[in-house]
């Protein structure tokens, strides 16, 4: 383990970490934006959910490298390619959670809201979604962590982030580079995970803390 390599390459390491964060967080957020309406529809119309789930399972089974390659004709060897692919995966993870979260709202609560005069939309926004927030954020956590980790495969189509350290470390038989890359990817993912846990706590003040 060559510790001196780290300060000697600080700028590059920082650049790659920033890229990895970008390529991991953006797709998860876009996935969230798409999954919420999609999940609301799937929770509302029972017939809609099974086909959505089937599509989601199939997409999630596509190996990341294959998906990046399938997108090359449309998006080339760019960040956009990786972002689109990771957004699709994020949707696969978050949508079922949106549905599960909404469906877990007890019927009695929904009825109480209706009895208090809440219209469907207001009930959705003021009661059902807030109660579903913990489950949705659980899905978002998985999406962000997976995206940050999967982005490393993007190096195989030339989109550089911390995965570059794996590939270059392998090509030069240089374990230090690989260790640094691994530690940073894991640390970045866990940091984002903790931030989301904090956001969940902030958004659900009524939840009991153990």
């Amino acid at each position: 383990m060559d510790w001196s390599w780290i300060p000697g390459n600080g700028a590059q390491i920082w650049q790659l970490t920033y890229e990895n964060a970008y390529l991991g967080i953006i797709p998860a957020l876009i996935g969230l934006v798409i999954s919420i309406p999609l999940g609301i529809l799937a929770a509302r119309w029972r017939w809609f959910y099974p086909p959505v789930l089937a599509v989601v399972n199939v997409i999630y089974a596509i190996p990341a490298l294959a998906l990046f390659i399938a997108l090359i004709p449309t998006f080339g060897l760019t960040d956009t390619n990786v972002i689109v692919a990771l957004t699709l995966y994020s949707m696969c993870v978050i949508t079922p959670n949106v549905v599960a979260g909404l469906r877990a709202v007890p019927a009695s609560v929904r009825q109480a809201a209706t009895a208090m005069g809440y219209g469907t939309l207001r009930r959705l926004l003021a009661v059902e979604l807030p109660l579903a927030v913990p489950v949705i954020i659980a899905g978002l956590r998985v999406a962000v962590v997976s995206a940050i980790s999967l982005a490393s495969v993007g190096q195989l189509i030339g989109v550089s982030q911390l995965g570059y350290l794996f590939i270059d470390g392998e090509q030069r038989a240089f374990p230090t580079e690989v260790y640094v890359g691994l530690v940073l990817v894991i640390a970045l993912a866990i940091a984002c995970d903790l931030v989301l846990v904090g956001i969940r706590r902030a958004l659900t003040p009524w939840a009991v803390r153990s």
Binding site: N57, P63, L65, F166, A173, L182, V185, D193
Partner: protein
């Protein structure tokens, strides 16, 4: 839909089904690269998850949070990175491709086994204890059967992860369906790239169907009915 036409043209070419490195060979290799890590992960994670779930105080206690956090953290490990690290440190050894895939498969199995057993109704657990069952009997005759649907979900999820990720074994020169993807990419032949990917997806769908059948066979009808109504 040129992705599909590339894939279809390549898959339906007879010569890809014969000789060395043929489609059937790589499918078998791929299944091998997938099945072994899955079995190892199941042998480790199912008993562990069941034991931890049995000792827990319910599906939303602190133990549950810890396990979920651990599973999330392990999802952060980039499989490609781990694979490369093992190549650089270990060279060619079965452990090089086994370890990353086992690490990938354990979290879903562990979390679901834990949640399955921990989520068994308090009353049911008390009844079992009250009826004089030993710990072993409680677990094997009551808790695991009730937890079985979730345990199977965990195994199914892990199986799909592993089948999809086993493609990167080709990056270090091994076989499996990833071979078609990597080789095709290196020589700009999109037929094997699309075809290989399509075969992986088909394999994953077959795994889903397999687990649906398993679930039908293993899970008592009463539990299945209860699951559907929830």
């Amino acid at each position: 839909m040129s992705f599909f036409s590339w894939a279809w043209d390549w898959i339906t070419q007879a010569r890809n089904w014969h000789g060395s490195d043929s489609i059937p060979q790589q499918i078998v290799a791929h299944l091998g690269y997938s099945a072994l890590p899955l079995v190892i992960a199941a042998v480790i994670a199912v008993p562990l998850g069941v034991a931890l779930g049995h000792r827990s105080s319910g599906a939303t206690g602190r133990g549950a949070t810890a396990i979920v956090n651990l599973a999330n953290a392990s999802r952060a490990i980039p499989t490609l990175g781990l694979l490369v690290l093992l190549v650089v440190v270990l060279g060619f050894s079965p452990l090089t491709w086994l370890l990353p895939l086992v690490v990938l498969a354990i979290p879903p199995i562990l979390v679901n086994a834990y949640e399955g057993v921990a989520g068994v109704d308090r009353d049911v657990r008390d009844a079992a204890r009250g009826a004089g069952m030993t710990t072993w009997q409680q677990i094997v005759r009551v808790e695991v059967p009730i937890a079985l649907p979730l345990i199977l979900v965990g195994l199914r999820t892990a199986a799909i992860f592993v089948v999809a990720t086993a493609t990167i074994a080709a990056y270090i020169g091994l076989g499996g369906l990833g071979r078609f993807i990597i080789d095709g990419l290196a020589s700009s032949q999109y037929g094997p790239v699309a075809g290989g990917a399509l075969l992986v997806v088909i394999l994953a769908v077959l795994v889903l169907l397999l687990f649906a059948v398993l679930s039908r066979l293993l899970v008592p009808a009463g539990l299945r009915r209860q699951e559907r109504s929830e």
